[in-house]
Amino acid sequence: MNQSRLLPLVVLLVGLIVITVAVVPLPTPGYDSVSEVLLRTLHRRLLLVAVPLTLLVEGAILYAMITFHANNDPKPTEERPSFEITWTVVVVLILLFVGTSSYLVLGNLTVSAGPDMTNSSRPVDVHVTGQNWFWEFTYPDEEVTTTNTLVLPANRTILFRITSTDVIHSVHIPALGVKQDAFPGRTTTFKTNVTKAGTYRLYCAEFCGVGHSTMLATVRVVAPPEYQQWLQQHKRTQSDRPQATDAT
């Protein structure tokens, strides 16, 4: 059968396409953090395969609908194992591509730290505590605590240690590609490095009761000198108050 001979070619073509898409470097316009670059680049890589595939499937449905509408010569269904094998192999190839590229990104996400401006060996530690219905950020090295405002230095490795005092919350900063649940009695971690100064929104992404949608915080990313300045200033105002929180 002439058509069947084309099938290995289809498999080969799909294989070549997914390998190309898997390795081709993609530009990272306007991405603000190392984790955002990783996550959104992967998302676009998948889109490069998914969008043509979706269009192909929808196109095939539409084409079949129009072409074979009121077709006076319907052909009986035959067994066509070669076709079935072909599209199974094609789907497996595509999913292998999805799995492998996700695996690589996941590895990078937990290992890679990105450029650290100050060459310090330790990341900036931030303890994030969610509770109904606000966020508390503690900088244990600096003995500083803030509420609903998170200030971070740009181009430094940030290590979030996340927990909750009551129900489950979730730290979600979409513009920086940060998401990690906050469980009571447990500490979860997330590492990133913000490459661009700016103001970002932190949402709570796990339903936590009536105030869930108001549990927002502001993330302000500033240059390291400005960050130090902010810390000093904050320490002064905090020590002025007698009820200053003990950060450790």
């Binding site: 992967l42 095939a60 074979f68 066509r80 199974t88 129900v167 998401k179 796990e206 009536v210 949608s213």
Partner: protein, 568 residues
């Protein structure tokens, strides 16, 4: 309040108009023969309540499912209305939170499964040549457990209505108002669900447990019927694809629902008797997530497999050829049933569980896309070289598979752990699963409702209204749920009663799409009721010209003998 009055007035009008004799103008003058359908008497009603006939129980299931579906759809319309505005101005945040909780629970547990159980109850014994379901009395019990389950699950609203009625009689029954609709999300995650002081939370858990028992009873009945009650002429190879779907669904139910029931009991004990299954210092909130999703993901396939196989059953009838790759259709159905138990932790990628564990769940979640895609290609191959007829059941099947493509592909995105980190718990997820639930499952139900309408009612539906319904529903799905994908990718979390103002326009577009869906459902309901009352009577059992293409299957043959018997 306005809503309650509106519903009451509407019901009163409907009851009155059913009693009235039909007027000839509503059907556009195309009808020649029509007979009157009056209100049933007390004896008739009693017959329905006490029936153990599989067809009557099937119809009871369908009526129940339609009712719960409409109720869940009302929740959805209220959710979308609230979201027209970035602030909580239409309803309070609390009401909004209760709405998405009850919407999810009603639709997943009390709407989809009862509807497919109803279709299966009516048609599977006929299609397999069985006299009835294997356990007719159990069948009736299984159904009659559902209405009390519904009352318990939706008690918060029901008690409020009763309380208000008594308030009008100067009787203040305060305890009725203490029972509030639950504000937990359908996933009922502790500690939130444990610390909730609302007594309805306990009533809800009992109701859900009851519905689980009802579902399990029905599943046992289907398994026994399909395996043992077939007539001698129906061998394993002759079982139709929809029965295979129901068999697999029932198998999954048998393993998933008892576990859910145990988890509910554990939660009830934690709430009321001081046990510590899900306490922070004991099993921990994560234990609930493991138990819940070990049920919860198979549940997704419990509701989708009947839909997928119903499409596989109806599609070839209007393409004038047999379904392509029948055997692979069966094997993929069984494969999905098995794999569905190995993907649950993909709902927990952001909880901080071991990356190696996450990786294995990602692999299985990707693998389960293989059988689903094979089905998709088989459907397209069925259409290819066929003779496609644009009847309402066919158009709903084609529309369903085209939206299912998007639902499936976004599912692969969500299976990828890094992409899931980006969009987990955002509107993206909501858009994704509605593309499948509304886009495929409900489309398949609509297809089935039109395809078998002649058998169920002896009447024909209004074809023009069916087309309007199709267009509204198809456009509604794309507008509402594609917009949700965008909103979610932009980062807005789900379950947000209020939201930042920059999302207003997109949310309003999604609401517009949802309103189209709602309008479509109303037109469908009108078509079903009015056509039953005064649609043209079916005289020839071969409504879809299935004899010409050799697909005049068993249920239609049965229908033909029924018609002949009536003529005598």
């Amino acid at each position: 309040m306005v809503l309650v009055v509106g519903i009451a007035a509407g019901t009163a009008w409907l009851l009155r108009s059913i009693g009235r004799s039909p007027s000839p103008w509503t059907d556009g003058g195309t009808v020649t023969v029509s007979d009157e359908v009056g209100l049933p008497g007390v004896v008739d009603l009693l017959e329905w309540v006490l029936t153990i006939d599989h067809r009557r129980i099937g119809i009871l299931y369908l009526i129940f499912g339609t009712f719960t579906g409409l109720w869940g759809a009302t929740d959805a319309m209220m959710i979308r209305t609230e979201l027209l505005n970035p602030e909580a101005v239409v309803w309070t945040s609390g009401t909004y939170n209760a709405l998405f909780t009850t919407h999810g629970l009603t639709m997943l547990l009390l709407f989809v499964t009862p509807v497919f159980t109803g279709i299966g109850n009516y048609f599977i014994p006929i299609m397999l040549g069985a006299d009835d379901m294997a356990f007719p009395r159990l069948n009736a019990i299984g159904f009659w457990l559902l209405p009390p389950a519904l009352v318990l699950v939706r008690a918060g609203l029901i008690t409020e209505v009763i309380g208000r009625l008594f308030l009008a009689l100067d009787l203040d029954l305060g305890f009725l108002f203490a029972i509030q609709p639950p504000e937990l999300g359908w996933t009922l995650y502790p500690p939130l669900s444990v610390v909730s002081t609302n007594p309805e939370t306990d009533i809800l858990l009992v109701g859900l447990h009851l519905s689980g028992i009802a579902t399990t009873i029905a599943a046992i009945n289907f398994i026994t019927t399909i395996i043992l009650e077939r007539s001698d002429s129906v061998s394993w190879a002759d079982i139709d694809i929809f029965s295979w779907g129901m068999l697999t669904m029932s198998g999954i139910i048998l393993f998933a629902f008892p576990l859910l029931g145990s988890a509910f009991v554990m939660l009830l004990l934690d709430r009321n008797f001081g046990t510590t299954f899900f306490a922070v210092k004991s099993g921990g909130p994560l234990l609930w997530q493991h138990l819940f999703w070990f049920f919860g993901h198979p549940e997704v396939y419990i509701i989708v497999l009947p839909g997928l196989t119903l499409v596989s059953l109806i599609l070839p009838k209007f393409a004038a050829r047999e379904v392509f790759g029948f055997r692979s259709m069966v094997y993929t159905t069984l494969a999905i049933g098995v794999l569905s138990f190995g993907v649950w932790a993909h709902h927990m990628f952001t909880t901080g569980i071991d990356p190696r564990l996450r990786m294995s769940f990602m692999v299985v979640s990707l693998a389960i896309a293989v059988p689903s895609s094979i089905k998709m290609f088989n459907w397209i191959a069925t259409l290819w070289n066929g003779r496609i007829r644009f009847a309402a059941p066919m158009l709903f099947c084609i529309g369903g598979i085209s939206t299912f493509a998007v639902g499936g592909i976004t599912g692969v995105f969500l299976a990828s752990i890094p992409v899931d980190l980006l969009v987990h718990d955002t509107w993206y997820v909501v858009g994704h699963f509605h593309f499948i639930i509304m886009g495929l499952i409900v489309f398949a139900m609509f297809a089935g409702s039109y395809y078998w309408y002649p058998i169920l009612t002896r009447k024909m539906y209004d074809r023009r209204l069916a087309l309007v319904h199709l267009v509204l529903t198809f456009a509604g799905v794309w507008i509402a749920f594609f917009t949700m994908l965008i909103v979610g990718y932009l980062g807005l979390p789900r379950r947000y009663a209020t939201y930042p103002a920059e999302f207003t326009l997109l949310q309003q577009i999604a609401t517009g799409g949802a309103y189209l869906l709602g309008l479509g459902v109303l037109i469908w309901l009108w078509n079903m009721v009015q056509s039953y009352r005064m649609g043209p009577r079916i005289e020839n059992a071969d409504v879809w010209d299935l004899k010409d293409i050799g697909q005049f299957t068993r249920e239609w043959q049965w229908f033909e003998t029924q018609l002949e018997r009536e003529d005598e």
